[in-house]
């Protein structure tokens, strides 16, 4: 299917939400570079962050082509309220348990989302999705190992994990915020099913894992329809950081 047959606004909503998700989690997790718990883990977490940024770059690239805009301008030159990442990613990096909890919730949700986009009718996106699925496998493997370790270690590790999950409760399912023009995407064969259905599939996937680890399942998100709209202070801080050099000389080449 040619892109002309699909309303731009629908694709923009989808690509922007995915690109912003990957961009924000990539930025946030790259904070661990140099200070992770073990040297080897530092290198591993940094790879995960770079992968997300690479994915964001590719998604901003697609969006840029669609809109005829510079991908860097899309990524950097918006005000904080115009970013469309999910609220789950508005939380600060926190301690290692928070990072792992948030990552697990995000990576498992992203896997379901990517599966629903695989084999879609717009080739540039479905080609990219095929590559992302292969790269994300390692993310879920690695973060799954950590979830397992933390959950099983009675004592400080498990306590911190439970604290992190409790803090993330209202926002855990916001990856599945219904997209504007979702129906259009489904009719056009881009997205296989609505976000509500994808959330259901996600719960089916992580249910057994959480049960096995005796962790509380995340509830429905509060105010799900605003899941990508109201960004918190933690994101405003991040925005301030990642735009600071660019804002120092707008229009300059870096």
């Amino acid at each position: 299917m040619t892109v002309a047959a699909i309303p731009t606004i629908a694709l923009d909503g989808l690509l922007r939400s995915m690109a912003d998700d990957e961009f924000v989690i990539g930025f946030s997790d790259s904070e661990w570079t140099g200070i992770a718990p073990i040297l080897e883990e530092d290198v591993a977490m940094s790879s995960l962050a770079q992968d997300e940024l690479g994915h964001a770059t590719a998604l901003f690239g697609l969006l840029g082509e669609l809109l005829g805009e510079d991908p860097n301008a899309i990524a950097y030159d918006r005000q904080p309220e115009h970013y469309r990442h999910c609220r789950l990613l508005d939380h600060a990096r926190g301690d290692w348990a928070m990072t792992i909890a948030r990552r697990y919730l995000y990576d498992s949700a992203d896997a379901v989302r990517l599966d629903a986009l695989a084999g879609g009718s717009w080739a540039p996106l479905s080609d990219l999705v095929a590559k992302l699925i292969r790269e994300e496998r390692y993310h879920l493997m690695h973060v799954g190992v950590w979830l397992n370790r933390l959950a099983h270690h009675d004592g400080e590790a498990r306590t911190r994990l439970l604290v992190a999950l409790r803090e993330l409760r209202p926002d855990a399912a916001t990856v599945f915020t219904p997209l504007p023009h979702e129906d259009t995407l489904i009719e056009a064969g881009i997205l296989e099913a609505p976000m509500s259905e994808l959330e259901r599939r996600w719960r089916e996937t992580i249910g057994p894992v959480f049960a096995d680890l005796d962790l509380p399942m995340p509830p429905a998100a509060t105010e799900l329809d605003r899941g990508r709209l109201d960004h918190r202070e933690a994101f405003r801080w991040l925005w301030g950081e990642f735009t600071s050099v660019r804002r120092s000389e707008p229009g300059a080449t870096w």
Partner: protein
């Protein structure tokens, strides 16, 4: 402890006979055989017998290098969050990741000489062991990020290339891997600097300012001149070139490249004399170097404190994973 190097498939038939100093001989004889072996270009593996002086010298050298890679992450890390384009963010994250990887490789070499990793971290944070001068200074802007990635890495690589033939074979092998990875960093750095040097007036001024501030530490980086005969690390072939040789090589390669960008090197006395074919320059401030490497530099304490904090905050994680995949 087993020596995995014994399984290397490319060993030639005459290359790796077990050196005589590994046999049970009187100490003085072993020492003499070892010294002769090393001075003839022979290599030493982790499982060979070594005189205490050699072991201590290699450990000190490698440990300082490892510490420098680890501390060297901090000046650039702040700017990871602020990288102004997607590509720069990826490049810088990859570079800093490599530095951590280098720290890992080098701490491994030091660990195999008998010093546990946690003890090396303890000593670094207590100020008992050192890290290179350049990582004790602040980075004030994106221009610094480019300048460090280019010229600090370049000065480091000049030293590292000379170490690829170190007598201590595990270190030499690690240096080959590190040199390959560093060559990419220098290209990234040069790209950032060149882009800014050909950019807006504000960007050009920022780059010149960065060079003005970093030139002094760069000239001090390879250390004061010392006579060849007195240098024990040279004697043991742990390293192969003197401080001055490294500094001269750095100047020969990089002064033209700096001037190519229209930047002014802040040393009016810097010039190349055809006779005897070497650079003359204003004497670097060696007292500044001494002050800085003894952890009295502008950022020394702040960075050590930051590291201490990060280590304390993640202690629970290390304790968790040492209990294995299932809790007791």
């Amino acid at each position: 402890m087993t020596d995995p190097r014994a399984l290397e498939p490319i060993l030639g038939p005459r290359e790796r006979t077990k050196p005589a100093f590994n046999e049970e001989l009187p100490h003085d004889e072993r020492f003499a055989l070892f010294e002769a072996h090393v001075m003839a270009g022979g290599k030493v593996e982790a499982t060979d017998w070594m005189p205490d002086e050699y072991r201590a010298a290699v450990l000190r050298f490698v440990e300082m290098h490892a510490n420098s890679e680890l501390m060297g992450v901090l000046p650039e890390r702040e700017w990871l969050m602020r990288a102004p384009t997607l590509r720069r963010k990826l490049a810088l994250t990859a570079k800093v990741q490599d530095e951590v990887g280098h720290a890992q490789l080098l701490y491994r070499v030091a660990e195999d000489l008998g010093k546990p990793r946690e003890q090396m971290f303890d000593d670094l944070l207590a100020g008992k062991t050192k890290f290179h001068n350049v990582f004790h200074y602040p980075t004030v802007g994106w221009a610094d990020v480019g300048m460090i990635a280019w010229l600090v890495d370049a000065a480091a690589i000049v030293a590292q290339q000379a170490l690829r033939d170190s007598s201590y074979a595990p270190y030499a092998r690690t240096m080959r891997k590190i040199c390959w990875e560093e060559s990419v960093h220098i290209m990234h750095g040069r790209d950032v600097v060149t882009t800014m040097a050909t950019g807006s007036p504000m960007q050009r001024a920022a780059i010149q300012d960065a060079l003005d501030r970093w030139w002094g530490p760069l000239m001090q980086m390879h250390g004061p001149r010392s006579p060849r005969e007195k240098d024990r690390d040279l004697h043991w072939r742990i390293k192969a070139r003197t401080s001055e040789e490294l500094r001269q090589e750095f100047l020969t390669i990089y002064v033209p490249r700096i001037r190519e960008l229209g930047l002014v090197i802040p040393d009016p006395a810097l010039e190349y004399a055809e006779e005897p074919g070497e650079w003359t320059y204003s004497e670097p401030d060696w007292s500044e170097l001494r002050t800085v490497v003894t952890n009295h530099g502008p950022m020394s304490q702040a960075r050590l404190a930051f590291r201490r904090l990060a280590r304390d905050e993640t202690r629970w994680v290390r304790e968790t994973i040492l209990a294995g995949p299932r809790a007791a």
